[in-house]
Amino acid sequence: MTSVSRDGHGPDPQDDPAIRRAQEERLARVWEQPKGWRYWTAVNNSEVGLWYIVTSFAFMLFAGVLGLLIRAQLARPDGDLLSAELYNQVFTLHGTAMMFLFGVPIFEAVAILLLPALLGARDLPFPRLSAFGFWCFLLGGLFVCGSIFFDAAPNSGWFMYPPLSIDQGGIGAEIWLLGLSFIEVASIAAAVELIVGVLKCRPPGMHLNLTPLYGWYVLIVGGMIVFAFPPLIAGDFLFELEKAFDWPFFDASRGGDPLLWQHLFWIFGHPEVYIIFLPSIALLAMIVPTFAQRPIAGYSWVVLSAIGTGFISFGLWAHHMYTTGMPSISLGFFSAASEAVVIPTGIQIFVFIATLMMGRVIRSVPMLFALGALMIFVAGGLTGVMIAVAPFDFQGHDSYFIVAHLHYTLFGGMVFPLMAGFYYYFPLAFGKLLSRRLGIIAFWLLFVGFNVTFLPMHLTGLLGMPRRVFTYPQNLGWEIPNLVSSLGAIVIAAGFATVILDVIRTLRNPATAPRNPWNAGTVEWMLEMPPKPWGARTIPHIESRYPIWDAPDFLARYDAGRFYLPDAEEGKRETIVTSVLDADPVQCLRVPGPGLMPIVAAVALAAMFFLATFHLWTLTVLAGFVALGAILWWLWTGTALPPEKPVKEIGLGERVPIYMAGPQSVGWWAMFITMTADLVAYLSLVFSYFFFWTIHTDFPPADAAGPGWAGPLAAGLLFVLAWGLTLAARKLNDRAHIGATRVCLGAGILAGAVGIAALIAGPALTGLDATHHAYPAIVWALVVWIVAHAGIGLVSQGFCLAGHIRGRLTSDHDADIWNTTLYWHFLLFTALVTTLVIGGFPLVA
């Protein structure tokens, strides 16, 4: 049979098997994995996603062993397996690793692995950014976890409350602060990658309303990370300044307040719970329709409820702080908001149940885990409703009731859905099916073990046992529930051991899974088994949510390469960028192949953070320069490279440009999202300034001399000038005024540099001593923040100037200067707010 060609004229070349074979050979060569030690330089999502998953599972197992140690210690009264100090380190690291090294990273890991397949794309838009994020995560995680072997692990609980963590935290607190800040960088990098991936890399035809639900969840959770993680980064910044330089942000004797940390932590910490929960529930949204063999009932309601949950989750944080003596109005407000979040959360659960009731359910291991997840999560949600009510929480606060509640929500909302997804998507990653029999055994071990461990903890808590005690005396009635919990923990361990055994057994077995083994309808199951290095053979044109079910010839057309980009003629890795709303093809994006730079940059940045922990400042600065150099080299040699031709034929009669700059390009979007996150961190610092103002009757204090208005005013004007020159350079470059562009960039650097000096001069010349009081400390913190950002702004201008001189930045290829200008928009805003706050507010206060 002859079909119409891709451009609509003459016979289709895809009819010729020889042509198709040649295309596949070229694709295989382009997407080939590097061999030997160079394997670790791979950046493709299939490798990086896999490493990410394995690493976060390894951290989970490590934290699980710590959990077993906790249970062994508490199995009987007056336990002496662990000393009090070691116990503090163990429970702190258990919580820290589970939340920061497993809960959030596993979302990024799974999304990096799966998202391109779900979108029919060859890769995500910034593969090296994913690789960089992975290496940051690995190094930061090893640093934090390794500390326990040197008796130096953090020991003040996973939320690190001052003053305890400052007075007794020792170096462990700094390992926590700097190690986790470093990992948060990786999380934000992944969020940027995933948001741009969902918005701009959907296959042609996949309108927003056809996007897989997993894509929606990734988009929402990515957005939540952008707004939730920065407050913690700001908190870490202040905390590290206090630990390292004695700036008293959290020291009540010098005008600080420990509650500021609690606010910054929980503004992050509560959305984080949903950041962990939503992507796991997203896996259920893919699994349930497959095993009900029908489309999801109420697609739009799931999207709505995911957005609603994400949004409301930002208004709940103070329910972690009910016992800080908040006024009743705050209690009332946060109780009401905490109850309100039940509405959207419940909608998702009911949609899954409705889908199952309307379909014919096929029994399988993923479904077993999905049902277990719903049962456990509903139980955890109900205790959540109880402790959202302040009077009940006063009784349960800091007791084992809370421990039971949080484990029910996290196991039901995250671990079980994740296990369901693990069994479901294992064939997509390895081309093999896990054992049904072992899966069922593992499920029952985990389900029974979990309930035996954590159900009695509700009782232990109501009987008055506080969390985080390293032992307890006899005759309080706590012996039996604790012993039962400890026995249950062994059963959970046996469940995970069964899963690991199953994985090893399956990977050794040469038998491969059939294609689309679950008879699913979504795009990702078009992939061949075992999976090919190139991912999608051809990037499909999507016309429905379940193309494999709805279009009978979909797989045949896919196999014959009859969609977009069936070839790699130029020997480059390519994927398609589409428009945000209706996914019209707009660009053929060249994505980079293997490279060392992500590793070098991650190692240098890790060195910077780790050396700072030990206050080795010279080496820290040195490592910072190495990291900066590596990142600049990476940008110079590998981003926004001018292509050999302006447009390319991508199939089905579409011709799109290869190079794009400005708001249409993925790089501009990534910069915008990154800077939004950065802005949120900055606004958290401004929040801290006004937080101090609300708690003090005289703020700024009467004896504070600085920073005056002259320095900030001069700095503000100079930053306006530098911003204006950068914008002028972009516009002049667009009109190919070569000399004027360079003059503007050079003058912009000069104006920015003098602006930095003026900003520092304000507090420096008026003698503000940051260690004296929280007021000078927060003024200096704002100044340091802006100076560091302005420094990066100058480097960006210099980068553009050098690029312009070397001919890599021209009027046709101007992505760098577009992104630099965007950076300066944000920088200008934050600089002006800073000058108004530190220079202007004292005049009106």
């Binding site: 309303n209 739009s300 609603g308 006024p327 009332g332």
Partner: protein, 124 residues
Amino acid sequence: MDPGRAPTSGRFCSPRRSGPCISSSSIPGFAVYCAKAGRDAALDPARAAVLAASTVALGFLVWLFLGSWRRRRPSVTDADFSFEGNTPEERHRFLTHMSLASSALSIVAVIYTTIPILVLETCR
């Protein structure tokens, strides 16, 4: 100072420190009012401000809701809420439906969080 509680730990708010606690609410002006006025201050001025803010928010949300309601059309594929069609128009209908439902959810959330201010009398 609050006579009933000695400031021995950072885990609760004294009158001077009630501000940060309240400032955690979504109504910063009200938080600042109570922080500066002290724990025993009457809520009345703040209540009026919060009710005004809630009314404005609800008015805006109702306006959004009605706007979406007027524009809403059932899905082209099955006259239901599936929105499975593969056209820009269907995508538009889907987004209209999302905005309709989101504004309804927001209206509920605003009412929920305004209720406490109706029953409390002081900043305590």
